[in-house]
């Protein structure tokens, strides 16, 4: 009996475990190893000497790529810029998602699922299509561009190009990630007990005080989990800057992509990927810590 139960446990958990060990853990380990190696002359990797000779002194592993990363200010600058864009995207998403999530949470129960479904549906369409849509809207011949440049012309200002700019990148980022903020925020706001607001009102709080002193602090855990869901994918994004941004608007993701598909410098690409992983882990720890400290304080 005991044996057969253990057998069943391994029969169920074994196959997915083995698959993920091969296709998730092993690739991650390979990437770590690759970051300590040297690039080959024609891209790819220099051969490892450890396999050909039995000398452990020269193993072909170096810290060179990490030194290279730190030696040039431009790479740190791109990392900082990516952090800045991710932070800005998160803040704009909070500002846009909050009113909608609040309204849905306060709507009659029968409408709520429909309203949430309306948030999820555009999110179900292809990622590239959603980015492409902004190429049309912001394009030089679009109505929006004409209107904005007409207004600028009337004010005596230089016309602007909307597409291929940091502004376009930011709009694209917000558009693609907004539902990630609305959903956790709504899940949080929906659980608030309206009795609390009644109590606040009875104690003389006006509408704004009720919001700032009751609803807002209680919704912080929802904001933080939404922030993690927006911040992390934005940090590693390469397609949106690639499609909507100009040549100067590159982020970490574009840098990584170029190492693998452009210059074919695998070790440096791996180093950058590991730096990105560390940044993502740092962000995850930060948001978890924020959410926990908020949960404890009241």
């Amino acid at each position: 009996m005991q044996l057969s139960n253990r057998l069943i446990k391994w029969l169920i958990s074994g196959p997915p475990l083995v698959f993920l060990l091969i296709f998730f853990v092993a690739p991650s380990l390979i990437m770590i190893v690759t970051s300590f190696r040297l690039p080959g002359e024609f891209g790819g990797l220099a051969p490892l000497t450890i396999f050909s000779e039995h000398t452990s002194i020269d193993s072909g592993l170096t810290l060179e790529t990490y030194q290279f990363f730190l030696s040039d200010w431009i790479y740190l600058e791109i990392f900082l810029k990516s952090f800045f864009i991710a932070t800005l995207t998160t803040i704009i998403c909070i500002a846009m998602a909050y009113p909608l999530a609040l309204l849905i949470a306060n709507s009659p129960r029968k409408f709520r699922n429909l309203m949430i479904m309306l948030v999820v549906l555009p999110f179900a369409s292809n990622f590239l299509i959603r980015v492409y849509a902004w190429m049309i809207i912001l394009g030089p011949e679009s109505t929006l561009s004409h209107v904005i440049n007409h207004i600028l012309g009337v004010l005596g200002l230089e016309p602007v190009t909307l597409l291929f700019s940091p502004f376009a990148v930011l709009i694209g980022m917000v558009y693609v990630h907004l539902p990630f903020m609305i959903l956790p925020l709504y899940t949080n706001l929906e659980k608030h007990d309206p009795i609390l607001l009644d109590a606040a009102q009875d104690l003389g709080a006006n509408r704004w005080q009720q919001f700032w002193c009751v609803t807002w602090p209680l919704s912080l855990p929802g904001i933080f989990s939404g922030s993690a869901l927006v911040f992390i994918p934005v940090l590693g994004m390469f397609a949106i800057p690639d499609i909507l941004g100009g040549t100067g608007d590159i982020m970490i993701g574009n840098l990584i992509k170029d190492q693998f598909l452009g210059t074919r410098d695998w070790p440096f690409g791996s180093t950058l990927s590991i730096m990105l992983t560390i940044a993502v882990l740092g962000a995850t720890v930060f948001f978890t810590w924020l959410a926990r400290s908020v949960m404890r304080s009241p």
Partner: protein, 271 residues
């Protein structure tokens, strides 16, 4: 929790006209871009700038674009294979995570969903080329898609199991059913909606995935998202709008179908 509808009107504080206006604008922000893509797919002009007249020309162009049709076929094939394998493995993972106190499997299944896609794409590329010596092509994409879809299926299946009464499974065992009989006659019918929803979900994710496909694709075989990307980057014609509209129609149908089977999914697909 109290039904909101039962509570007197005065407690509905957070629904002022201003709030409603802002919410409407956010909905407009979500929908207008997609509507523009759809409208311009019927526009009789080479430029995506202004409305000229109605035409089905771009859909006809699409129909004669062999490269694009091949890409659609390849992508459907990849999605079928990846969603089948991910549904089997993901259901097992969901069951195992729910039933046993496992430490490693949940981390392995859910981490790929929480990290930027580019990391999985890049590490798989290195793994394929360095270790497996695999020629990049349909197989490498199928394996990559399976890897990240397992977690989604596991989440949906586990959520379904958590809402279930475990005692019926034990009752079946007490009545003399073998573990397999108990699973086949009791657990499986109960989690079937979640399995179908998971399968449809991973099919959609596979068809839509751009980043991981971008890194694990080979040369030669056209894949739908890559084909769209190339068209956007190189030469935008309204043919992109036409294929986008059709693709939207397909994923929309799949998502609605999936939510029919498991209504909890539409509420929060991100977790």
């Amino acid at each position: 929790m109290k039904e909101i509808a039962d509570i007197p009107e005065k407690t509905m504080r957070h629904s002022s006209p201003l709030l409603r206006l802002i919410a409407m604008l956010v909905y407009a922000f979500l929908y207008i871009p997609l509507c523009i893509v759809i409208v311009f797919s019927f526009n009789d002009s080479k430029l995506n700038a202004e409305w000229v007249g109605f035409t089905l020309h771009w859909y006809q162009t699409l129909w004669h674009d062999h490269e694009m049709l091949l890409a659609v076929r390849n992508s459907l094939f990849i999605a079928c294979c990846a969603s089948t394998s991910a549904t089997i493995l993901g259901t097992m993972a969901g069951l195992a995570i729910h039933r046993y106190k496992l430490k490693v499997l949940p981390i392995l299944a859910f981490t790929p969903l929480a990290m930027p896609e580019i990391l999985l794409g890049v590490s798989l590329l290195l793994f394929y080329l360095q270790v497996l010596n695999l020629t990049l092509g349909l197989l490498s994409i199928i394996l990559a898609h399976t890897t990240f879809c397992i977690g989604f299926v596991a989440i949906i299946v586990r959520a379904r199991l958590q809402g279930m009464d475990e005692s019926i499974f034990e009752a079946a065992r007490d009545l003399g059913a073998t573990p397999w009989q108990a699973f086949y006659h009791v657990t499986l019918p109960l989690i079937k909606p979640a399995i179908i929803a998971g399968a449809l979900m991973s099919f959609t994710l596979s068809i839509d995935d751009f980043v991981i496909t971008f890194f694990t694709k080979g040369i030669g075989e056209p894949i739908l998202p890559i084909q769209i990307y190339t068209m956007i980057k190189v030469a935008v014609t309204p043919e992109v709008n036409a294929i986008s509209t059709l693709l939207m129609l397909l994923t929309l149908t799949l998502i609605i179908l999936a939510s029919r089977f498991d209504s909890s999914m539409l509420r929060d697909p991100s977790r």
